[in-house]
Structure formats: C-alpha cells, structure tokens
Symmetry: C2
Subunit: 300 residues, 2 copies
C-alpha cells in the first residue's frame, strides 16, 4: 500500500570539509520519498516554489512518487545553507529562508485521505495535526520532528504525539523532548506521550527501537567515505516506513525496518543531494541489507 | 587455558558528575583480570606498592587470579586522579603519579612462560616487547595501548605490533596510530602493521572487529545508568580474550568474543572500581549475553 508523506521540498547549499554543492535538491519529503519508493508507491504533499525544476519533477515521477499533492506557489522553494565541520558531527546553519514554505497549508487531495500509512515529516506540529484531521483511518502514523519545534511549539507537538504510533527522532531530540539525559529514561517518558513505537537514531552510531517491552539495538552501516550527511535521517525514515508498508506490524518486521532505514541512510550520505538515493535499484538495497546481516550476525 | 596478563595495578581517585570515590582499586591488569576470570584462570604480572591492601590481594586470589607474578616494591601504587564531565565523553586527568610503576621491569615467572595467551595491557611498548621476549610460543598475543604511547613511543609500539595477533584500541587511538580519519581506512593501515585481528572500541557506541576479509559491527549494551566508566575498556578486553581462551580462533568465536567484551564492560560501568565486576557470577554474564542477543537479533 502507498504512503502519504507531508514534508518539505528544498534547495540546499551545502558545504562539507571536502566539497560543496549549490541548489541541491533536498527537504524531508524528498529524501523520505526517494528512500521509501524502493519499497512501496508514495503520495507526496508539499509546497514548491516557481523555481522548482522540471527535471526534479520528472525525477520524482519516474520513481513511483505521485506528485498530485505538490502545490506550486509563486516565490522560491524553501532554502537552507549549511556547513559540516571536520568531524561531521557539528553542523552550522548559515541561512534558512522559508520562502513559499512560510504559508504552507497542507491540503490533502481527496484520493490520499484513505491513506493507511502517513509520514509527517519535520514541519510545524500544528501543520502535522492539520494533516491528521484530513486523513480518515490511518493504520500507521509516523512522525519526525526537530529541536526547533520541541523548543518553540512543544504544546502543539505533544498534542500531535497523542495521535502518533511511531515517533522517529535522533538522540538529542529525544533528550530535549523528554528532559531526560539517559536515552532509556528518555524513551520511557516519550512513549508515555503517545507513540507506542519509538525509534531513536544515533547517526553513525546506529539506532534503537522500542516496541512493547522490547528494545532493539542496531549499529550503523560502517561507511568508508561520507560525502554529505544531509537527508540521512529522512532517508532512514523512508527506508523504515517504506519497508513496513508491506509487512505485518510486529517486532520482527520493526527490527528489519530499522535495518532497512540504516541501509537507505547509508546510500544517501554517499553523495550530495539525492544523487545516490535516486540512482540505486532494488538489487543494491537487498545487497546492502545482506551485507548488514553479514556484518552484525553472531551466534546465540 | 590460562591467560598471562601484564599491566598496571592502581589506586584511582575518581570524580563523576554525580559522586566521587577515593583510592578505588583500578589499573588495566586489575580490570582485565576480574573480567577475564569469569571465563578462564588468570596469571597476573604487575608491580604493586607497599600500600597495596591485603583485602585487595584476597579479592584477586578469590577470583581464580594467580598473583605469584605480583612484585611488591617500596613506595605507593600507581595513582590516577580523574574527572568525568556531564556528558561522560570528556575526561580530565588531574594527576598521574607513576610511583612504583616508574621502574617497573616485568619479569615473567618461570611457570608463566609457556602461556598460550598473553594480554599486554596498556604499558610502555618497550615493556610489552620485553614480556614477549620471555614467553615461549604464545598462540595468541593481544595488545592494548593509548594515545600517550602512540605519540611518545611510536617506533617501539610499531616494533611490538609486528609480534601481535590482536590489537584492541578505541577509535581515537586507531585514528592517531594510523593517521587516518576514516575508521575503515584506519583499520586497513593498522592491520598492515601486524595484527591480523583488530578490535576497535567505541565506548557507548559499540565495537568493530576485523578478521580476514570480514568486518563485524556490534552496538553497545544500552545502559540505564552509568556510575563510573573507568576500566570499561580493560574489562571489554578481559571479556573478549577470556571468552576466546576456550574457543577455536575463528570468526564465529571472535564475534561472540566482542559481545562478551561489551557485556563485561557494561557491568564495570555500573559501579565505581571493580565493585560490580567482582560481585557478579557466571549466571549474570550468561543472562546479559542472552539479553544482548535478544536486543540485537533480526531476521535475514
């Protein structure tokens, strides 16, 4: 079944210790969708500017991504300029221009409202809530957020979280949201807010997942060379939720979903923008999943 | 079969964000031995001061640790005073007094010279080399080192590494030793120096192991509460090598050894000094190994 994703579409200027790229196609909806479409069709809702390239539109459409829900407004696309420092762990934002994103009001096309799986990308919690008001009986609602919303719209976020099954955040976001330093305490606090399934990403250090009384711990896929980490988290979410779309929702599927998330994130960081993510095929995904199995398996 | 370990015995003053402990029994040989003795008997060679407590001697002897190789000199034991900061990742050394350790000359008792497994704890590479001159035909030689020796005694260290099968270091040490920023490049460079088996520890983020053309990646055991991280790395080495002592040296045993290393490190950080490490039994070790299996397993 297809996934409804609501998020951002952006053009990013990115500087890394080794290279830079201007006007790189990015945004949470883009990375999520191009990762998830390896597993299931995607319906995307987002706002684009009048500078959104035809070639980028064709890229989406050629990847099982339904773009009916893209609203074109006059003005430029969301713009972010960021720089990664030598150790990749520190990121400086040089500029954020909301542009057409500033007055984004997500309207879910009629055909999308019966979506069984919804991914609320990292946008204002109030908008995420509005999306949920428009979908009928979703089986799975997953949400991503960031420090900015946790600090500036906590009440709306907590209200939205009550309607969410799966929260996917990174460790610093989990600490900020819960007010707990220990990641295990943080998980306990957050799950009491609503999401029964919690996935905490730790970048190059892997991910943790909580479901029922179980914790699953996965290392990251070890990377030989990182070109650009932008979008790794959204690609993780795309791999995770995309994989789940065709599975029975149980702990075994959730564990494999975490690994598929890591796999998709690992492709994204191998190039600027979505270059690698859009170039790989199902074979590449399966091969890397198998490599992940081989690298992590040990006997009981 | 028993393991010959050569390393330090210390009394540490430790300050954490939450508590402090004075004159805590520590040192690489102590942590290693108390972790490894859960799997196999240990023969320990180290220098102790005349302040080494009778109760600490009894603690070792009651844990299958042969102390014939402990040399008592006049003066105090090695002393380290350190402080951990709020995030546990930064550690400040307030004082290091070598004391009796300054003129430590490891003499391997005659009965230990046929040791099949040797662990060279974190001491001067020149002394590690001297130890190897005295053992006859070791089947496995494992070595730990630290940034200080990599920076100040690199030549002697590289000479020693030629005689070593297994190197166990943390990620910053691997980067410094190899001059490579990427951990995968670092591993390639280091293995060309001699050790066919390389284990790189990443603290709370797990460990990697290289053997033949294989890489094994393990997450760390997720900790609810860390009391004192001192000795976690040496305890990891003790669990790793202790487990290997009774196994055929192949990739399957090495993978399980990494997990046993993580398990032993996770016990150590639950208390100051060796309190927890010395209190647990085989059942606790097996239970946590099984918990580790349960938390990391996923289907192919």
């Amino acid at each position: 079944m297809s996934i409804l994703v609501v998020g951002s579409v952006a053009y990013d200027d990115i500087i890394t210790p080794f290279a830079s790229r201007q006007r790189a196609l990015g945004g949470s909806a883009i990375y999520f969708s191009l990762a998830a479409q390896h597993f299931t069709p995607i319906s995307m809702v987002a706002v684009i500017g009048d500078d959104f390239k035809q070639s980028d539109m064709r890229l989406l459409e050629s990847h099982r991504i339904d773009t009916t829900g893209l609203i074109r407004e006059s003005g430029p696309c969301f713009y972010w300029k960021g720089e990664y420092l030598g150790n990749w762990n520190d990121r400086i934002t040089h500029a954020t221009h909301l542009n057409v994103f500033e007055h984004f009001n997500p309207v879910i096309p009629h055909d999308y409202r019966k979506a069984e799986i919804v991914f609320l990308g990292n946008i204002a919690p109030e908008l995420q809530n509005k999306v949920l008001d428009q979908v009928e009986h979703p089986r799975i609602v997953a949400l991503d957020t960031m420090n900015y919303w946790i600090s500036h719209a906590k009440e709306a976020l907590i209200e939205t979280l009550r309607r969410v099954n799966i929260l996917i955040v990174n460790d610093s976001e989990a600490r900020l949201l819960s007010g707990e330093q220990s990641i295990i305490e943080a998980a306990r606090t957050i799950r009491a807010m609503g999401p029964t399934i919690l996935c905490i990403k730790r970048g190059e250090h892997g991910a943790l997942l909580w479901y029922d009384d179980q914790v699953f711990v996965a290392p990251a896929y070890p990377m030989c060379e990182v070109v650009d980490p932008t979008g790794a988290g959204d690609s993780f979410a795309g791999g995770f939720l995309g994989y789940l779309a065709r599975q029975k929702l149980d702990i075994h599927a959730l564990r494999r979903a975490v690994v598929h998330g890591s796999v998709m994130g690992s492709f994204t960081v191998e190039s600027f923008s979505v270059d690698r993510l859009a170039a790989i095929g199902t074979d590449d995904v399966n091969k890397r999943y198998q490599a992940f199995v081989d690298m992590t398996h040990f006997d009981r």
